[in-house]
Protein backbone atom coordinates (compact mmCIF):
# COMPACT_ATOMS: atom_id res chain seq x y z
CA UNK A 1 0.00 0.00 0.00
CA UNK A 2 1.23 3.45 -0.94
CA UNK A 3 0.33 6.42 1.23
CA UNK A 4 1.16 9.88 0.00
CA UNK A 5 0.31 12.30 2.79
CA UNK A 6 -0.12 15.96 1.86
CA UNK A 7 3.16 16.46 0.05
CA UNK A 8 4.25 19.94 -0.97
CA UNK A 9 6.91 20.88 -3.48
CA UNK A 10 7.79 24.35 -4.71
CA UNK A 11 10.46 24.76 -7.37
CA UNK A 12 12.73 27.83 -7.34
CA UNK A 13 11.21 29.26 -4.17
CA UNK A 14 11.67 32.99 -3.67
CA UNK A 15 12.48 33.69 -7.31
CA UNK A 16 10.42 34.94 -10.25
CA UNK A 17 10.36 31.36 -11.48
CA UNK A 18 8.72 30.10 -8.29
CA UNK A 19 6.25 27.36 -9.09
CA UNK A 20 4.14 25.29 -6.73
CA UNK A 21 4.23 21.84 -8.31
CA UNK A 22 2.67 19.80 -5.52
CA UNK A 23 0.15 21.53 -3.31
CA UNK A 24 -0.63 19.22 -0.40
CA UNK A 25 -1.32 16.19 -2.53
CA UNK A 26 -2.94 13.18 -0.84
CA UNK A 27 -3.19 9.76 -2.39
CA UNK A 28 -3.62 6.21 -1.16
CA UNK A 29 -3.06 3.22 -3.40
CA UNK A 30 -4.18 -0.26 -2.44
CA UNK A 31 -2.11 -3.31 -3.28
CA UNK A 32 -2.68 -4.33 -6.86
CA UNK A 33 -4.16 -0.99 -7.90
CA UNK A 34 -3.35 -0.07 -11.49
CA UNK A 35 -3.93 3.66 -11.57
CA UNK A 36 -3.85 5.74 -14.72
CA UNK A 37 -2.87 9.35 -14.06
CA UNK A 38 -4.07 12.18 -16.29
CA UNK A 39 -3.80 15.95 -16.10
CA UNK A 40 -2.71 18.96 -18.14
CA UNK A 41 0.85 20.04 -18.78
CA UNK A 42 2.42 21.29 -15.58
CA UNK A 43 -0.37 19.80 -13.48
CA UNK A 44 2.13 17.93 -11.33
CA UNK A 45 1.81 14.37 -12.64
CA UNK A 46 5.49 13.80 -13.35
CA UNK A 47 6.43 15.76 -10.25
CA UNK A 48 4.29 13.37 -8.20
CA UNK A 49 6.01 10.30 -9.67
CA UNK A 50 9.45 11.89 -9.27
CA UNK A 51 8.66 12.81 -5.66
CA UNK A 52 7.77 9.19 -4.97
CA UNK A 53 10.92 8.00 -6.76
CA UNK A 54 13.08 10.49 -4.84
CA UNK A 55 14.47 12.49 -7.77
CA UNK A 56 14.17 15.44 -5.37
CA UNK A 57 13.13 15.75 -1.72
CA UNK A 58 9.63 17.08 -0.99
CA UNK A 59 9.23 20.26 1.09
CA UNK A 60 6.85 18.59 3.53
CA UNK A 61 4.53 15.63 3.86
CA UNK A 62 5.36 11.94 3.79
CA UNK A 63 5.51 9.05 1.38
CA UNK A 64 5.04 5.60 2.87
CA UNK A 65 5.18 2.39 0.87
CA UNK A 66 4.15 -0.87 2.54
CA UNK A 67 5.06 0.56 5.93
CA UNK A 68 8.48 1.88 4.83
CA UNK A 69 8.88 5.63 5.11
CA UNK A 70 10.54 6.67 1.85
CA UNK A 71 10.39 10.41 2.50
CA UNK A 72 13.98 10.89 3.66
CA UNK A 73 15.64 8.21 1.52
CA UNK A 74 17.85 9.13 -1.47
CA UNK A 75 16.80 8.03 -4.92
CA UNK A 76 19.11 5.02 -5.17
CA UNK A 77 17.88 3.61 -1.87
CA UNK A 78 14.22 3.92 -2.86
CA UNK A 79 15.02 2.04 -6.05
CA UNK A 80 14.89 -1.16 -3.99
CA UNK A 81 11.12 -0.83 -3.80
CA UNK A 82 10.36 0.81 -7.15
CA UNK A 83 10.33 -0.08 -10.81
CA UNK A 84 10.50 2.89 -13.14
CA UNK A 85 10.06 3.55 -16.84
CA UNK A 86 10.67 7.07 -18.09
CA UNK A 87 9.17 9.12 -20.90
CA UNK A 88 12.52 9.35 -22.66
CA UNK A 89 13.48 5.90 -23.99
CA UNK A 90 17.16 6.86 -23.59
CA UNK A 91 16.83 7.32 -19.83
CA UNK A 92 16.05 3.85 -18.60
CA UNK A 93 18.93 1.81 -20.03
CA UNK A 94 22.74 1.95 -20.21
CA UNK A 95 23.50 2.46 -23.93
CA UNK A 96 27.14 1.34 -23.90
CA UNK A 97 26.32 -1.92 -22.13
CA UNK A 98 24.88 -5.12 -23.54
CA UNK A 99 21.22 -6.09 -23.28
CA UNK A 100 22.11 -8.92 -20.93
CA UNK A 101 24.34 -6.64 -18.82
CA UNK A 102 21.51 -4.16 -18.45
CA UNK A 103 19.20 -6.92 -17.29
CA UNK A 104 21.80 -8.21 -14.83
CA UNK A 105 22.08 -4.71 -13.37
CA UNK A 106 18.31 -4.57 -12.98
CA UNK A 107 18.15 -8.02 -11.43
CA UNK A 108 20.31 -6.68 -8.58
CA UNK A 109 18.20 -3.60 -7.96
CA UNK A 110 18.41 -2.74 -4.28
CA UNK A 111 20.99 -5.44 -3.52
CA UNK A 112 24.46 -4.75 -2.26
CA UNK A 113 26.86 -4.88 -5.19
CA UNK A 114 30.12 -6.59 -4.34
CA UNK A 115 32.89 -8.48 -6.07
CA UNK A 116 30.76 -11.36 -7.28
CA UNK A 117 30.48 -11.75 -11.05
CA UNK A 118 28.05 -9.28 -12.58
CA UNK A 119 26.25 -11.98 -14.59
CA UNK A 120 25.98 -15.72 -14.05
CA UNK A 121 25.45 -18.40 -16.68
CA UNK A 122 21.98 -19.25 -15.39
CA UNK A 123 20.98 -15.63 -15.81
CA UNK A 124 21.79 -15.74 -19.53
CA UNK A 125 19.29 -18.55 -20.01
CA UNK A 126 16.67 -16.93 -17.81
CA UNK A 127 16.91 -13.62 -19.66
CA UNK A 128 16.74 -15.37 -23.01
CA UNK A 129 13.35 -16.79 -22.03
CA UNK A 130 12.14 -13.44 -20.69
CA UNK A 131 13.13 -11.55 -23.82
CA UNK A 132 11.22 -14.06 -25.92
CA UNK A 133 8.00 -12.91 -24.26
CA UNK A 134 8.55 -9.40 -25.64
CA UNK A 135 8.44 -10.86 -29.14
CA UNK A 136 10.85 -8.24 -30.49
CA UNK A 137 13.66 -10.60 -31.45
CA UNK A 138 15.87 -9.23 -28.66
CA UNK A 139 16.60 -12.73 -27.38
CA UNK A 140 18.80 -13.24 -30.44
CA UNK A 141 20.76 -10.04 -29.78
CA UNK A 142 21.50 -10.41 -26.08
CA UNK A 143 25.10 -9.25 -26.34
CA UNK A 144 24.26 -6.25 -28.54
CA UNK A 145 24.82 -2.82 -27.03
CA UNK A 146 21.52 -1.28 -25.95
CA UNK A 147 22.46 1.97 -27.74
CA UNK A 148 21.83 0.13 -31.03
CA UNK A 149 18.18 -0.58 -30.20
CA UNK A 150 15.21 1.50 -31.34
CA UNK A 151 13.28 3.66 -28.88
CA UNK A 152 10.46 1.14 -28.69
CA UNK A 153 12.83 -1.76 -28.10
CA UNK A 154 14.62 0.19 -25.39
CA UNK A 155 11.35 1.07 -23.71
CA UNK A 156 10.17 -2.55 -23.78
CA UNK A 157 13.51 -3.60 -22.32
CA UNK A 158 13.30 -0.93 -19.61
CA UNK A 159 9.87 -2.22 -18.70
CA UNK A 160 11.17 -5.75 -18.43
CA UNK A 161 14.08 -4.50 -16.31
CA UNK A 162 11.77 -2.52 -14.02
CA UNK A 163 9.84 -5.69 -13.23
CA UNK A 164 12.70 -8.21 -13.34
CA UNK A 165 12.81 -7.97 -9.60
CA UNK A 166 9.21 -7.55 -8.50
CA UNK A 167 8.80 -3.92 -7.40
CA UNK A 168 6.36 -2.90 -4.69
CA UNK A 169 5.31 -0.05 -6.95
CA UNK A 170 5.73 0.40 -10.68
CA UNK A 171 5.97 3.97 -11.97
CA UNK A 172 5.33 4.52 -15.67
CA UNK A 173 5.91 8.15 -16.58
CA UNK A 174 4.32 8.64 -20.01
CA UNK A 175 6.46 5.79 -21.14
CA UNK A 176 4.83 5.49 -24.56
CA UNK A 177 4.68 9.21 -25.39
CA UNK A 178 7.90 9.25 -27.41
CA UNK A 179 7.01 6.20 -29.50
CA UNK A 180 5.17 5.89 -32.82
CA UNK A 181 1.52 4.77 -32.45
CA UNK A 182 2.14 1.16 -33.39
CA UNK A 183 5.12 0.75 -31.08
CA UNK A 184 3.31 2.64 -28.33
CA UNK A 185 0.40 0.20 -28.56
CA UNK A 186 2.81 -2.73 -28.38
CA UNK A 187 4.67 -1.37 -25.35
CA UNK A 188 1.36 -0.59 -23.65
CA UNK A 189 0.16 -4.10 -24.30
CA UNK A 190 3.37 -5.50 -22.80
CA UNK A 191 2.97 -3.18 -19.80
CA UNK A 192 -0.56 -4.39 -19.18
CA UNK A 193 0.54 -8.01 -19.50
CA UNK A 194 3.46 -7.58 -17.08
CA UNK A 195 1.35 -5.70 -14.54
CA UNK A 196 -1.43 -8.27 -14.61
CA UNK A 197 0.90 -11.25 -14.53
CA UNK A 198 2.67 -10.01 -11.41
CA UNK A 199 -0.37 -8.15 -10.01
CA UNK A 200 1.84 -5.07 -9.56
CA UNK A 201 0.69 -1.89 -7.88
CA UNK A 202 1.16 0.57 -10.72
CA UNK A 203 0.88 4.27 -11.55
CA UNK A 204 0.84 5.15 -15.23
CA UNK A 205 0.82 8.70 -16.53
CA UNK A 206 -0.76 9.11 -19.94
CA UNK A 207 -2.05 11.87 -22.18
CA UNK A 208 -4.18 9.45 -24.12
CA UNK A 209 -7.69 9.53 -22.64
CA UNK A 210 -8.65 6.27 -24.27
CA UNK A 211 -5.70 4.48 -22.72
CA UNK A 212 -6.46 6.10 -19.38
CA UNK A 213 -9.94 4.58 -19.49
CA UNK A 214 -9.05 1.22 -21.01
CA UNK A 215 -6.14 0.36 -18.75
CA UNK A 216 -6.11 -0.13 -15.01
CA UNK A 217 -8.81 -0.28 -12.37
CA UNK A 218 -8.59 3.30 -11.23
CA UNK A 219 -8.12 6.75 -12.74
CA UNK A 220 -6.98 9.95 -11.11
CA UNK A 221 -6.73 13.45 -12.50
CA UNK A 222 -4.06 15.77 -11.13
CA UNK A 223 -4.40 19.51 -11.44
CA UNK A 224 -2.63 22.33 -9.66
CA UNK A 225 -0.57 19.85 -7.67
CA UNK A 226 -3.60 18.05 -6.20
CA UNK A 227 -5.75 15.06 -7.04
CA UNK A 228 -8.98 16.55 -8.37
CA UNK A 229 -10.68 13.42 -9.63
CA UNK A 230 -10.50 9.82 -8.46
CA UNK A 231 -12.70 7.15 -9.98
CA UNK A 232 -12.41 3.41 -9.85
CA UNK A 233 -14.21 0.16 -10.53
CA UNK A 234 -17.45 0.30 -12.43
CA UNK A 235 -17.58 4.06 -12.40
CA UNK A 236 -14.27 4.12 -14.29
CA UNK A 237 -15.44 1.48 -16.75
CA UNK A 238 -18.36 3.67 -17.68
CA UNK A 239 -16.23 6.76 -18.33
CA UNK A 240 -16.07 8.07 -21.88
CA UNK A 241 -13.41 10.16 -23.55
CA UNK A 242 -15.94 12.96 -23.97
CA UNK A 243 -16.67 13.00 -20.23
CA UNK A 244 -12.98 13.17 -19.41
CA UNK A 245 -12.40 16.07 -21.78
CA UNK A 246 -15.41 17.75 -20.22
CA UNK A 247 -13.87 17.23 -16.79
CA UNK A 248 -10.64 18.77 -18.05
CA UNK A 249 -12.34 21.95 -19.19
CA UNK A 250 -14.27 22.31 -15.94
CA UNK A 251 -11.10 22.68 -13.86
Amino acid sequence: MLQVNSIYKTFNPGTVNERVALDGLDLTLNDGDFVTVIGGNGAGKSTLLNAIAGTFPVDSGSIILDGTDLTGLPEHKRAKYLGRVFQDPMMGTAPTMQIVENMALAARRGDKRGLKWGITKEEHEKYHEMLKILDLGLEERMTAKVGLLSGGQRQALTLLMATLKKPQLLLLDEHTAALDPKTAAKVLEISDMVVKKNSLTTMMITHNMKDAINFGNRLIMVEGGKVVMDVSGEEKQKLTVAELIEAFSNI
Binding site: H76, L82, R109, L115, G118, A162
Partner: protein, 308 residues
Protein backbone atom coordinates in the same frame (compact mmCIF):
# COMPACT_ATOMS: atom_id res chain seq x y z
CA UNK B 1 71.34 5.01 -42.30
CA UNK B 2 72.80 6.77 -39.35
CA UNK B 3 69.35 8.07 -38.40
CA UNK B 4 67.87 4.59 -38.68
CA UNK B 5 70.62 3.18 -36.49
CA UNK B 6 70.03 5.82 -33.88
CA UNK B 7 66.32 5.17 -34.04
CA UNK B 8 66.82 1.46 -33.64
CA UNK B 9 68.94 1.92 -30.56
CA UNK B 10 66.34 4.32 -29.15
CA UNK B 11 63.51 1.87 -29.76
CA UNK B 12 63.69 -0.17 -26.51
CA UNK B 13 63.63 3.05 -24.50
CA UNK B 14 60.62 4.30 -26.41
CA UNK B 15 58.78 1.03 -25.82
CA UNK B 16 59.60 1.08 -22.11
CA UNK B 17 58.36 4.65 -21.76
CA UNK B 18 55.28 3.70 -23.72
CA UNK B 19 54.58 0.81 -21.34
CA UNK B 20 55.01 3.02 -18.26
CA UNK B 21 52.67 5.59 -19.76
CA UNK B 22 50.39 2.75 -20.82
CA UNK B 23 49.49 2.22 -17.15
CA UNK B 24 48.72 5.91 -16.89
CA UNK B 25 46.68 5.76 -20.10
CA UNK B 26 44.56 2.91 -18.72
CA UNK B 27 43.84 5.17 -15.76
CA UNK B 28 42.75 7.91 -18.14
CA UNK B 29 40.63 5.38 -20.01
CA UNK B 30 38.81 4.51 -16.77
CA UNK B 31 37.76 8.12 -16.19
CA UNK B 32 37.46 9.41 -19.75
CA UNK B 33 35.74 6.46 -21.39
CA UNK B 34 34.13 4.50 -18.53
CA UNK B 35 33.14 7.28 -16.13
CA UNK B 36 32.77 9.87 -18.90
CA UNK B 37 34.77 12.45 -16.94
CA UNK B 38 37.88 14.27 -18.18
CA UNK B 39 39.83 14.10 -14.93
CA UNK B 40 42.64 16.64 -14.74
CA UNK B 41 43.78 15.38 -11.33
CA UNK B 42 46.17 13.09 -13.16
CA UNK B 43 48.64 15.88 -13.98
CA UNK B 44 49.20 16.18 -10.24
CA UNK B 45 48.76 12.57 -9.12
CA UNK B 46 51.36 11.31 -11.60
CA UNK B 47 53.99 13.49 -9.94
CA UNK B 48 52.64 12.61 -6.48
CA UNK B 49 53.18 8.94 -7.28
CA UNK B 50 56.70 9.66 -8.49
CA UNK B 51 57.58 11.87 -5.52
CA UNK B 52 56.14 9.48 -2.92
CA UNK B 53 57.92 6.50 -4.39
CA UNK B 54 61.31 8.20 -4.78
CA UNK B 55 61.33 9.73 -1.30
CA UNK B 56 60.34 6.45 0.34
CA UNK B 57 63.00 4.52 -1.55
CA UNK B 58 65.55 7.12 -0.46
CA UNK B 59 64.41 6.50 3.10
CA UNK B 60 65.31 2.87 2.58
CA UNK B 61 61.87 1.38 2.00
CA UNK B 62 61.54 -1.65 -0.24
CA UNK B 63 60.77 -0.42 -3.80
CA UNK B 64 57.68 -2.62 -4.03
CA UNK B 65 56.31 -1.17 -0.80
CA UNK B 66 57.22 2.30 -2.01
CA UNK B 67 55.28 1.59 -5.21
CA UNK B 68 52.29 0.50 -3.13
CA UNK B 69 52.45 3.70 -1.07
CA UNK B 70 52.63 5.70 -4.30
CA UNK B 71 49.45 3.99 -5.49
CA UNK B 72 47.81 4.85 -2.18
CA UNK B 73 48.78 8.51 -2.61
CA UNK B 74 47.10 8.52 -6.02
CA UNK B 75 44.00 6.84 -4.60
CA UNK B 76 43.74 9.61 -2.00
CA UNK B 77 44.12 12.27 -4.71
CA UNK B 78 41.28 10.63 -6.62
CA UNK B 79 39.20 10.55 -3.44
CA UNK B 80 39.63 14.29 -2.97
CA UNK B 81 38.57 15.07 -6.53
CA UNK B 82 35.67 12.67 -6.15
CA UNK B 83 34.49 14.38 -2.98
CA UNK B 84 34.80 17.80 -4.67
CA UNK B 85 32.45 16.53 -7.38
CA UNK B 86 29.95 14.56 -5.31
CA UNK B 87 29.90 16.34 -1.95
CA UNK B 88 30.63 19.93 -3.03
CA UNK B 89 28.93 19.93 -6.43
CA UNK B 90 32.02 21.27 -8.20
CA UNK B 91 32.05 20.49 -11.95
CA UNK B 92 34.43 17.56 -12.67
CA UNK B 93 36.93 19.52 -14.77
CA UNK B 94 37.27 22.24 -12.16
CA UNK B 95 37.42 19.69 -9.34
CA UNK B 96 40.35 18.02 -11.09
CA UNK B 97 42.12 21.33 -11.62
CA UNK B 98 41.73 22.24 -7.94
CA UNK B 99 43.20 18.94 -6.76
CA UNK B 100 45.95 19.14 -9.34
CA UNK B 101 46.93 22.63 -8.24
CA UNK B 102 47.02 21.73 -4.58
CA UNK B 103 49.01 18.61 -5.41
CA UNK B 104 51.74 20.84 -6.83
CA UNK B 105 52.31 22.24 -3.34
CA UNK B 106 51.92 18.84 -1.73
CA UNK B 107 54.42 17.30 -4.16
CA UNK B 108 56.97 19.97 -3.27
CA UNK B 109 56.41 19.19 0.41
CA UNK B 110 56.89 15.47 -0.25
CA UNK B 111 60.12 16.26 -2.12
CA UNK B 112 61.37 18.44 0.75
CA UNK B 113 60.90 21.66 -1.22
CA UNK B 114 63.16 20.59 -4.07
CA UNK B 115 61.74 20.48 -7.57
CA UNK B 116 63.77 17.39 -8.36
CA UNK B 117 64.90 14.41 -6.29
CA UNK B 118 67.17 11.73 -7.69
CA UNK B 119 67.07 8.02 -6.92
CA UNK B 120 70.10 6.24 -8.30
CA UNK B 121 69.99 2.67 -9.48
CA UNK B 122 73.55 2.32 -8.11
CA UNK B 123 72.36 2.84 -4.57
CA UNK B 124 68.92 1.25 -4.63
CA UNK B 125 67.52 -1.89 -6.27
CA UNK B 126 64.95 -0.12 -8.42
CA UNK B 127 62.12 -2.02 -10.08
CA UNK B 128 62.71 -0.47 -13.47
CA UNK B 129 65.67 1.51 -14.71
CA UNK B 130 66.53 3.08 -18.01
CA UNK B 131 70.08 1.79 -17.65
CA UNK B 132 69.19 -1.84 -18.45
CA UNK B 133 66.66 -1.18 -21.19
CA UNK B 134 68.98 -2.59 -23.92
CA UNK B 135 70.24 -5.54 -21.84
CA UNK B 136 69.26 -9.15 -22.29
CA UNK B 137 68.53 -9.76 -18.66
CA UNK B 138 65.79 -10.10 -16.11
CA UNK B 139 66.68 -6.59 -14.96
CA UNK B 140 65.48 -5.18 -18.26
CA UNK B 141 62.51 -2.96 -17.33
CA UNK B 142 60.60 -4.25 -20.35
CA UNK B 143 60.21 -7.60 -18.58
CA UNK B 144 58.76 -6.22 -15.38
CA UNK B 145 56.59 -3.66 -17.17
CA UNK B 146 55.08 -6.26 -19.49
CA UNK B 147 54.30 -8.65 -16.65
CA UNK B 148 52.93 -5.87 -14.45
CA UNK B 149 50.71 -4.54 -17.24
CA UNK B 150 49.34 -8.00 -17.97
CA UNK B 151 48.48 -8.53 -14.30
CA UNK B 152 46.87 -5.10 -14.05
CA UNK B 153 44.83 -5.64 -17.20
CA UNK B 154 43.61 -9.03 -16.01
CA UNK B 155 42.64 -7.62 -12.60
CA UNK B 156 40.84 -4.65 -14.17
CA UNK B 157 39.09 -6.90 -16.66
CA UNK B 158 37.84 -9.03 -13.81
CA UNK B 159 36.85 -6.05 -11.68
CA UNK B 160 34.72 -4.46 -14.39
CA UNK B 161 32.96 -7.79 -14.80
CA UNK B 162 31.86 -7.87 -11.17
CA UNK B 163 28.65 -6.42 -9.76
CA UNK B 164 30.56 -3.46 -8.39
CA UNK B 165 32.50 -2.90 -11.61
CA UNK B 166 29.28 -3.08 -13.63
CA UNK B 167 27.80 -0.46 -11.31
CA UNK B 168 30.74 1.86 -12.06
CA UNK B 169 30.20 1.33 -15.79
CA UNK B 170 26.46 2.00 -15.50
CA UNK B 171 27.21 5.17 -13.53
CA UNK B 172 29.44 6.39 -16.34
CA UNK B 173 27.02 5.65 -19.14
CA UNK B 174 23.65 6.68 -17.65
CA UNK B 175 23.31 8.08 -14.14
CA UNK B 176 19.50 8.14 -14.29
CA UNK B 177 19.35 4.50 -15.14
CA UNK B 178 21.97 3.65 -12.52
CA UNK B 179 20.04 5.40 -9.74
CA UNK B 180 16.77 3.81 -10.85
CA UNK B 181 18.52 0.45 -10.46
CA UNK B 182 19.57 1.34 -6.92
CA UNK B 183 23.16 2.23 -7.76
CA UNK B 184 24.78 4.92 -5.63
CA UNK B 185 26.19 6.99 -8.48
CA UNK B 186 28.15 9.30 -6.19
CA UNK B 187 29.95 6.43 -4.51
CA UNK B 188 30.76 4.85 -7.85
CA UNK B 189 32.05 8.12 -9.32
CA UNK B 190 34.43 8.48 -6.37
CA UNK B 191 35.46 4.83 -6.64
CA UNK B 192 36.27 5.20 -10.35
CA UNK B 193 38.34 8.32 -9.72
CA UNK B 194 40.27 6.59 -6.92
CA UNK B 195 40.99 3.59 -9.12
CA UNK B 196 42.09 5.78 -12.01
CA UNK B 197 44.40 7.97 -9.99
CA UNK B 198 45.87 4.94 -8.23
CA UNK B 199 46.92 3.64 -11.65
CA UNK B 200 48.24 7.05 -12.67
CA UNK B 201 50.32 7.34 -9.49
CA UNK B 202 51.69 3.83 -10.08
CA UNK B 203 52.74 4.96 -13.54
CA UNK B 204 54.38 8.05 -12.02
CA UNK B 205 56.26 5.91 -9.49
CA UNK B 206 57.59 3.63 -12.21
CA UNK B 207 58.43 6.58 -14.44
CA UNK B 208 60.46 8.22 -11.66
CA UNK B 209 62.40 5.01 -11.06
CA UNK B 210 62.91 4.51 -14.78
CA UNK B 211 64.27 8.03 -15.23
CA UNK B 212 66.17 7.95 -11.94
CA UNK B 213 64.41 10.96 -10.46
CA UNK B 214 61.08 12.48 -9.54
CA UNK B 215 60.36 15.96 -10.81
CA UNK B 216 57.61 18.28 -9.64
CA UNK B 217 56.78 19.02 -13.28
CA UNK B 218 56.80 15.43 -14.50
CA UNK B 219 53.02 15.37 -14.73
CA UNK B 220 52.56 18.53 -16.74
CA UNK B 221 50.31 17.71 -19.68
CA UNK B 222 50.00 14.08 -18.57
CA UNK B 223 46.25 14.08 -19.25
CA UNK B 224 46.91 15.03 -22.87
CA UNK B 225 49.49 12.26 -23.33
CA UNK B 226 47.06 9.80 -21.71
CA UNK B 227 44.28 10.94 -24.01
CA UNK B 228 46.62 10.70 -27.00
CA UNK B 229 47.33 7.07 -26.09
CA UNK B 230 43.61 6.32 -25.65
CA UNK B 231 42.74 7.93 -28.95
CA UNK B 232 45.62 6.45 -30.98
CA UNK B 233 44.66 3.04 -29.61
CA UNK B 234 41.02 3.52 -30.53
CA UNK B 235 41.71 4.86 -34.01
CA UNK B 236 44.15 2.10 -34.90
CA UNK B 237 42.57 -0.88 -33.16
CA UNK B 238 38.99 0.20 -32.43
CA UNK B 239 37.57 -1.82 -35.30
CA UNK B 240 39.21 -5.10 -34.30
CA UNK B 241 39.54 -4.85 -30.52
CA UNK B 242 36.02 -5.15 -29.16
CA UNK B 243 36.26 -6.66 -25.73
CA UNK B 244 37.38 -4.70 -22.70
CA UNK B 245 40.69 -6.51 -22.25
CA UNK B 246 41.65 -5.81 -25.85
CA UNK B 247 40.50 -2.21 -25.51
CA UNK B 248 42.94 -1.78 -22.63
CA UNK B 249 45.62 -3.44 -24.77
CA UNK B 250 44.83 -0.95 -27.53
CA UNK B 251 45.35 1.91 -25.08
CA UNK B 252 48.75 0.51 -24.03
CA UNK B 253 49.76 0.01 -27.66
CA UNK B 254 48.59 3.56 -28.28
CA UNK B 255 51.01 4.80 -25.63
CA UNK B 256 53.86 2.71 -27.06
CA UNK B 257 53.17 3.96 -30.59
CA UNK B 258 53.02 7.51 -29.30
CA UNK B 259 56.52 7.20 -27.84
CA UNK B 260 57.92 5.47 -30.92
CA UNK B 261 56.55 8.21 -33.18
CA UNK B 262 57.97 10.73 -30.75
CA UNK B 263 61.41 9.14 -31.08
CA UNK B 264 61.14 9.27 -34.85
CA UNK B 265 60.25 12.94 -34.99
CA UNK B 266 62.98 13.69 -32.46
CA UNK B 267 65.53 11.85 -34.60
CA UNK B 268 64.33 13.93 -37.52
CA UNK B 269 65.53 16.96 -35.62
CA UNK B 270 62.39 18.29 -33.99
CA UNK B 271 62.78 20.74 -31.13
CA UNK B 272 61.81 18.99 -27.87
CA UNK B 273 60.19 22.19 -26.67
CA UNK B 274 57.54 21.84 -29.37
CA UNK B 275 56.48 18.37 -28.23
CA UNK B 276 53.68 19.40 -25.92
CA UNK B 277 52.10 21.56 -28.59
CA UNK B 278 52.31 18.76 -31.14
CA UNK B 279 50.71 16.33 -28.70
CA UNK B 280 47.93 18.79 -28.00
CA UNK B 281 47.30 19.31 -31.71
CA UNK B 282 47.26 15.57 -32.27
CA UNK B 283 44.66 15.04 -29.52
CA UNK B 284 42.58 18.01 -30.71
CA UNK B 285 42.50 16.67 -34.27
CA UNK B 286 41.55 13.14 -33.25
CA UNK B 287 38.86 14.36 -30.87
CA UNK B 288 37.46 16.49 -33.69
CA UNK B 289 37.29 13.71 -36.26
CA UNK B 290 34.09 12.07 -34.93
CA UNK B 291 32.39 15.48 -34.82
CA UNK B 292 33.45 16.44 -38.33
CA UNK B 293 32.49 13.02 -39.59
CA UNK B 294 29.03 13.45 -38.07
CA UNK B 295 28.59 16.82 -39.78
CA UNK B 296 29.73 15.40 -43.09
CA UNK B 297 27.40 12.40 -42.82
CA UNK B 298 24.48 14.68 -42.00
CA UNK B 299 25.29 16.80 -45.05
CA UNK B 300 25.52 13.75 -47.28
CA UNK B 301 22.22 12.44 -45.99
CA UNK B 302 20.65 15.85 -46.63
CA UNK B 303 22.01 15.99 -50.17
CA UNK B 304 20.65 12.53 -50.86
CA UNK B 305 17.18 13.54 -49.73
CA UNK B 306 17.15 16.62 -51.92
CA UNK B 307 18.36 14.60 -54.91
CA UNK B 308 15.33 12.35 -54.55
Amino acid sequence: MNVLGALFSALPGAVAQGLVWGIMAIGVYVTFRILDIADLTVDGSLATGGATCVMLIRLGLNPWLALLCAVASGVIAGLVTGLFITKCGIPPILAGILTQLSLYSINLRIMESKSNQAVSVDKYSLLASQRYVRDFSILNPLVLLTVLLLILMILLYMFFGTELGSAVRATGTNQNMARAQGINTKFNTVLGLMLSNGLVAMSGALLAQYQGSADVNMGRGAIVIGLAAVIIGEVLFGKIFRNFFLKMLAVVLGAVIYYIVLQIVLQMGLNTNDLKMLTAILVAVFLSIPYWKGMLDAKKAGAKKEGK
